[in-house]
């Protein structure tokens, strides 16, 4: 994975064209709409402008190569956890947040370096990456012992563990997809499909939504939106089959299910956290989108499932 390989990779180039095309298309539609519609499209423009920044950042890191991609995704994980810590109040405990930051960095490093023992054929240190929660939880449990504290520590320990496993490690699986030979297809398909799934859920919900899906967690979501998105997501792996030409129909169906169901569940999971805390967005990092976590919530849920499916059928080398 390097700039030269990216320029010669039909998969990478096709995604660049698809994304450029969609951005240009969406921009023109928005332009026409704001010409002729009287609706206030300010917030839609803001969302769109943020996409104009995020898409090149993602494509740029993947273009630059494996190390940059893993580093960039690790940074997103760190910033995502920072939002979680600020929202839950864990950020006041610098020891705990520091421990989790160290854990997320370790996830990035184990994704980058190979197993030091006999060659496994995988560019990352898969064994340690998968075993990392053991060590990071041990570290988190060590913190109150070193500080000789008990008060409020169960809450701090629990939040730190959720923060690491859910945001640092589960999202970290996305970076691990930079390791296999078909990295461009896996990475770009997953990110693209999850975002399409989000947009499809929103669109179908707007157009046909009647029956509330999980009324107490996310009142705007409807069964119609969820099923519409699932339909689109089941179709997408077949349309974008060039991303993983070695996939049998069974894997294409599984991919569609993982994105179509996992995407919604990831969205709902972050909503539960937000509702329990009593906040609307996890942060204000991305104008028009909210926080980083509001943007990557679906990826957190789908990335590990997709990675393990790939590993099961084709391995990660």
């Amino acid at each position: 994975m390097n700039p030269k390989e990216a320029l010669q990779s039909p998969v990478f180039l096709t995604y660049v064209w698809i994304i450029l095309g969609l951005l240009a298309g969406a921009g023109s539609v928005l332009g026409i709409m704001s010409r002729f519609s009287k609706k206030d499209l300010h917030s839609v423009w803001m969302t769109y402008r943020s996409w104009l920044v995020m898409a090149p950042l993602l494509l740029g890191s993947i273009f630059l190569g494996r190390i940059v991609t893993i580093a960039a995704l690790t940074l997103i994980g760190l910033l995502g956890f920072k939002e979680f810590a600020r929202a839950t109040g864990l950020y006041r405990d610098w020891w705990m947040t520091g421990g989790v930051y160290a854990g997320i960095l370790a996830a990035g490093v184990t994704t980058m370096v190979p197993h030091p023992g006999p060659a496994t054929g995988v560019s990352g240190w898969y064994g340690l990456f998968m075993a990392l929660p053991v060590y990071v939880i041990a570290l988190i449990l060590l913190i109150p012992i070193v500080r000789n504290r008990t008060e409020g520590q169960l809450q701090a320990i629990s939040l730190a563990i959720v923060g690491f496993i859910y945001i640092g490690w589960m999202f970290g699986h996305l970076a691990f997809l930079a390791n296999p030979t078909h990295h461009y297809g896996y990475l770009l398909f997953l990110v693209f499909a999850v975002e399409v799934n989000d947009v499809a859920a929103f669109t179908f919900g707007r157009l046909f939504g009647k029956h509330p899906f999980r009324s107490r967690i996310s009142p705007k979501k409807t069964w119609e939106g969820a099923l519409g998105a699932l339909g689109v997501s089941l179709l997408l792996p077949w349309v974008l089959r060039f991303s993983f030409p070695h996939f049998a129909p069974r894997e294409l169906v599984l991919t569609g299910l993982i994105v179509g169901i996992g995407g919604q569940l990831g969205d709902l999971s972050i909503s539960i956290i937000k509702r329990d805390i009593g906040i609307k967005d996890m942060g204000a990092t991305i104008p028009g989108h909210g926080g980083i976590l509001d943007r990557i919530d679906s990826l957190i849920y789908t990335a590990p499932l997709f990675m393990h499916m790939v590993d099961y059928y084709h391995g990660l080398n």
Binding site: R86, Y91, D276, I277, K280, D281, A284, T285
Partner: protein, 242 residues
């Protein structure tokens, strides 16, 4: 089972720049790290390039909150006063900085909030509110407030008249205030110049004063300001003699 209580950051829904502009700012590990790094760099720079000398450092109260008032000759003043404090108090020292100058453009907000840890002080409007902000800050133990009562940088190196706001802040409050004099700063970095010159600067800290027995009022405020101005002038004479 009682549900957990979450204490979200108060600036959760604000973008980075707004978070830096607000006061008091929420603690942020990255900002603290950058500030510590900047403080160490500044200390080295002042020591080597400006041969900074500090007299009277031992007069600073170690635990209590206190106010440092000084003459204002350049942007170096704040950095010199900050460098005189122990590193452990670096994140609890707040120079009052003109909100209209330091908290308008993004690069200046970054420097003021991250490097300097400034308290945005409105000089023209809302002076009373800004003073209240200072008072709240001093109510917590261990904070250091740095104020330049002249309200602006001197262009000649002469000490200007101290504004009575400093008196209004201190009258009737049991807070030690230390007069400080900075010598050589106008020559080292004149107002309007882009970069400082390698001239020597020195800082002299005077013994603390306390105005807790005075009743707040217009006259007392003016009197305190005049007395502090005189104290700084006296330090200037000592500096010249030394």
């Amino acid at each position: 089972m009682t549900p957990w209580k979450y204490e979200s950051a108060e600036d959760l829904d604000q973008a980075m720049v707004e978070r830096l502009r607000r006061f008091p700012r929420e603690p942020d590990m990255l900002v603290y790290g950058l500030r510590s790094l900047a403080a160490l760099t500044m200390r080295g720079w002042l020591r080597l390039y400006h041969r900074l000398e500090v007299h009277g450092r031992e007069l600073l109260p170690p635990e209590r909150s206190c106010v440092l008032v000084a003459n204002h000759g350049s942007h170096l003043d704040t950095l010199c006063l900050l460098a005189a404090l122990p590193m452990s108090r670096r994140h609890r020292a707040f120079p009052a900085a003109a909100a209209d100058y330091f908290f308008q453009s993004v690069p200046r907000i970054w420097i003021a909030a991250v490097v300097v840890n400034a308290l945005p002080f409105s000089r023209q409007v809302h002076v009373r509110q800004s003073l209240n902000l200072c008072q709240r800050l001093l109510a917590n133990p261990g904070n250091v407030l740095i104020i330049f009562p002249e309200g602006t940088r001197s262009t000649t190196g002469e000490i200007g008249r101290f504004k009575p706001g400093i008196g209004a802040l201190l009258a009737g409050e049991d807070i030690p205030v230390l007069p400080c004099h900075l010598a050589g700063v106008t020559r080292a970095w004149p107002k309007g110049k882009l970069l400082p010159r390698p001239a020597k600067v020195s800082l002299r800290i005077g013994p603390p004063k306390n105005y807790s027995t005075l009743t707040p009022g217009r006259d007392t405020a003016g009197m305190i300001a005049a007395e502090l101005e005189q104290a700084v002038r006296d330090l200037a004479i000592q500096q010249g003699a030394a």
